[in-house]
């Protein structure tokens, strides 16, 4: 260990080095692997073909989230036979290899990145992987968490390690007080808009600064979640008293004396004063506003008060063509004010914004209003626990009274692997993370926004500046 000041990332990394063979990537130990139905079947099959076992079933957990329908009837009898087979395959694999599964009827089922934290599986200083790029969510606890491919899923199942080249470090500090109506989602959309969708490629981002510290743990998860949309390998935030308070008493959090020891260890994790980062960026929180994405890449975002950009102003030919293509796909004309763009659908949910605070924020906006007659809106809680909590608080009644559909937990329309998809040409205000072509259904047009902005758009029938919203509830 060096006595030089170290970053949070370096501390977590060094704690997990199994071997550093000359001229090869570091062999890194993985504390926790999260599994779901879509990216695991081929990994288990690979184990079977090679006659290998799962090395540490106690360091694995599985759930079903991507494929599951979000209606009660739909879940009991999954019509899509290919999806049903994939879910049945996960069941068989978990039974065969001894891995705990939170199945569709479990009170712990939910989006893998929502249940990890709420069960207390996700903890500071851990290394966490999952065959899903939004694994970066868990970085909000000061864990090094990143998405992997299926071959790597198999590798971790077999060895509980991954060969990894050390990424660069990138500190993004958001300093100052966040203006009213500006959320964690807006912070990360602003960052991606500024640095681009490849702005952090090859890097682990540490989010810091007073505006990040001021965020709740759930807000921090929203920020870390979309690190991948800036190309980052992972995003993390130093653990603090809020982190410990969030974890205390959760099912898989340490108890008693082990808890005290854990807090002592976790408290050593924040980056040391004077620790050096490969890159640094400072953002003034006071300059941030509510954002809306207008194109087909998460970097294509603009303030709600602005207009659809003009491709003619692009600096290069390739960028101009790219913008033209995006606007054509999105069915938008350059110069259109974003707050006049009418929508057909609203999706509130996903691993980005499907937690209880997101639903509370959206419900506060919707309370006492009605969804526009031109809009079909749905709320999909991120997990069974989120759903139950929301129902205890009466949020479901607020949503239903306003005309939102209240669904069962899963990834749902974030990626439309289940029946929740857009029809061609439909325009959706979505609290999810990707506005790629066809992401929510072929020909569908996705606009990324915060939960508050999505709820307001559902009611108004078009995007609105949430800062001007009259809260009735």
């Amino acid at each position: 260990m060096s006595s030089e000041p170290r970053t949070l990332f370096e501390k977590v990394w060094e704690q997990h080095v199994v071997a550093s063979p000359e001229g090869e990537p570091t062999l890194l130990y993985i504390d926790l692997q999260l599994l779901h139905e879509v990216t695991s079947p081929q990994a288990f099959e690979g184990l079977r073909l090679a006659g290998r076992k799962v090395r540490r079933p106690d360091r694995c957990i599985a759930t079903v989230d991507h494929n599951v329908p979000t209606t009660k009837e739909g879940r009991l009898n999954i019509v899509d036979q290919i999806a049903a087979t994939q879910i049945a395959t996960l069941r068989q694999n978990c039974a065969e290899f001894g891995i705990e599964l939170y199945d569709v009827d479990s009170p712990s089922q939910g989006i893998v990145h929502i249940i990890g934290p709420e069960l207390g599986l996700t903890k500071p200083g851990m290394t966490i992987v999952c065959g899903d790029s939004h694994t970066s969510t868990h970085g909000a606890f000061g864990a090094l968490a990143f998405g992997i491919g299926t071959s790597e899923v198999e590798h971790v199942l077999a060895t509980q390690t991954l060969p990894q080249s050390k990424p660069k470090t990138f500190r993004i500090a958001v300093e100052g007080k966040l203006p009213r109506g500006v959320t964690a989602k807006d912070i990360i959309l602003a960052i991606i808009g500024q640095i681009g969708t490849d702005g952090a490629t090859g890097c682990v981002v540490e989010y810091a600064g007073s505006a990040i510290r001021a965020l709740s743990i759930e807000g921090r998860m929203t920020v870390c979640n979309m690190s991948i949309e800036a190309g980052a390998r992972a995003g993390l935030i130093a653990p603090d008293e809020k982190t410990f308070a969030y974890l205390k008493g959760r099912r898989f959090a340490p108890q008693g004396a082990a808890w005290d020891e854990a807090v002592r260890e976790w408290s050593k994790l924040p980056s040391d004063a004077g620790a050096k980062f490969d890159r640094e960026l400072v953002i003034d929180a006071a300059t941030l506003v509510p954002y809306v994405s207008w194109g087909t890449s998460p970097g294509m975002v603009a303030p709600i008060t602005s207009k659809v950009p003009d491709p003619a102003s692009a600096p290069t030919e390739q960028e101009r063509t790219g913008l033209e293509r995006a606007l054509e796909y999105m069915g938008l004309k350059a110069g259109t004010p974003l707050d006049t763009v009418a929508i057909d659908r609203v999706f509130i949910g996903s691993c980005t914004n499907g937690r209880i605070e997101d639903l509370r924020a959206a419900a506060r906006i919707a309370d006492g209003y009605k969804v526009s007659t031109k809009v079909s809106a749905m709320v999909v809680p991120g997990s069974q626990a989120v759903k139950e909590q929301a129902e205890t608080e009466g949020l479901d009644r607020i949503f239903r009274a306003a005309g939102f559909e209240w669904r069962e937990p899963g990834c749902s329309m974030c990626l439309g692997m289940n029946p929740d998809i857009l029809s061609p040409g439909e325009r959706c205000a979505s609290t999810s993370n990707r506005n790629f072509e066809g992401r929510q259904g072929r020909g569908g047009r996705t606009h990324l926004v915060s939960p508050e902005m999505a709820a307001a758009a559902a009611i108004a029938g078009h995007f609105v500046d949430i800062r001007n919203w009259e809260v009735k509830g």
């Binding site: 199994v18 071997a19 063979p21 990537p25 062999l27 130990y29 926790l32 879509v38 079947p41 081929q42 099959e45 694995c60 991507h66 494929n67 899509d80 290919i82 087979t85 994939q86 395959t89 599986l121 903890k123 500071p124 200083g125 065959g131 790029s133 491919g149 299926t150 071959s151 790597e152 590798h155 077999a158 060895t159 060969p163 080249s165 990424p167 969708t197 490849d198 991948i228 949309e229 190309g231 898989f252 340490p254 082990a258 020891e261 854990a262 260890e265 976790w266 890449s297 390739q318 960028e319 790219g322 293509r325 990626l415 692997m417 990707r434 072509e437 066809g438 992401r439 072929r442 020909g443």
Partner: protein
């Protein structure tokens, strides 16, 4: 996995930046539990019209590029989702190498596990290759992993960087798990000690 040494093959130009893995293999094909057979779904929404007919305006439907094994694309290729299905689809379709200015991290790793060589060249070099592949009939490129070069018979020659270990694995077509298990004794010792760190226990 199949070893890769030197490949001379037809190059297809995909002149777009930020091609995401949702485009490379749309979600409806991720429900399968097999590892093979994804080639016919590669770039499905771009290759096929809404009614399922081949879209003649998409480059891979152009008969000129039939049998291409090298794909030339814009920067930040294969960004977004971690789905290895993207690498499986490219490989199953017949691509053995992709040339672009930059690649997204997770795809970079997935491609390596499937014997696909990714060559990072400069924006200018890629622009030249895109232009050549569009304008020169039967435009062939040679990707030499051993020499770390991309060349054609028109005088183009460029070198690319690759991590030596990744190069070794691609050249030999090596299985990663087997390589890791060379360190099994170190892993056993590490794990015994690491398990005592109660604050890092999963459950």
């Amino acid at each position: 996995m199949e070893p890769f040494r030197t490949l001379t093959a037809l190059a297809a130009p995909l002149d777009r930046a930020n091609v995401d893995t949702d485009q490379i293999i749309p979600k409806q094909f991720l429900k399968r539990i097999e590892r093979t057979g994804y080639g016919e779904f590669l770039f499905f929404d771009w290759r096929r019209t809404a009614t399922g007919e081949p879209d003649p305006s998409f480059v891979l439907n152009d008969p000129r590029y039939k049998g291409a094994q090298i794909l030339v694309a814009g920067k930040n290729f294969a960004c977004g989702s971690s789905r290895e299905h993207a690498a499986w689809a490219l490989s199953d379709f017949g691509f053995r190498a992709v040339i672009a200015p930059t690649f997204a991290d997770i795809f970079f790793s997935n491609a390596g596990k499937n014997g696909i060589v990714l060559a990072r060249l400069s924006e200018e070099q890629v622009a030249t290759l895109l232009d050549n592949a569009k304008t020169i009939s039967n435009y062939q490129l040679t990707v030499s992993l051993e020499a770390q070069t991309v060349t054609d018979n028109q005088g183009f020659s460029a070198t690319f960087e690759i991590d030596p270990f990744r190069k070794f694995c691609l050249l030999e077509g090596l299985d990663d798990i087997g390589l890791t298990l060379r360190h099994e004794a170190a892993l056993d010792a590490f794990e015994t000690k690491h398990d005592q760190a109660g604050w890092l226990k999963a459950k």
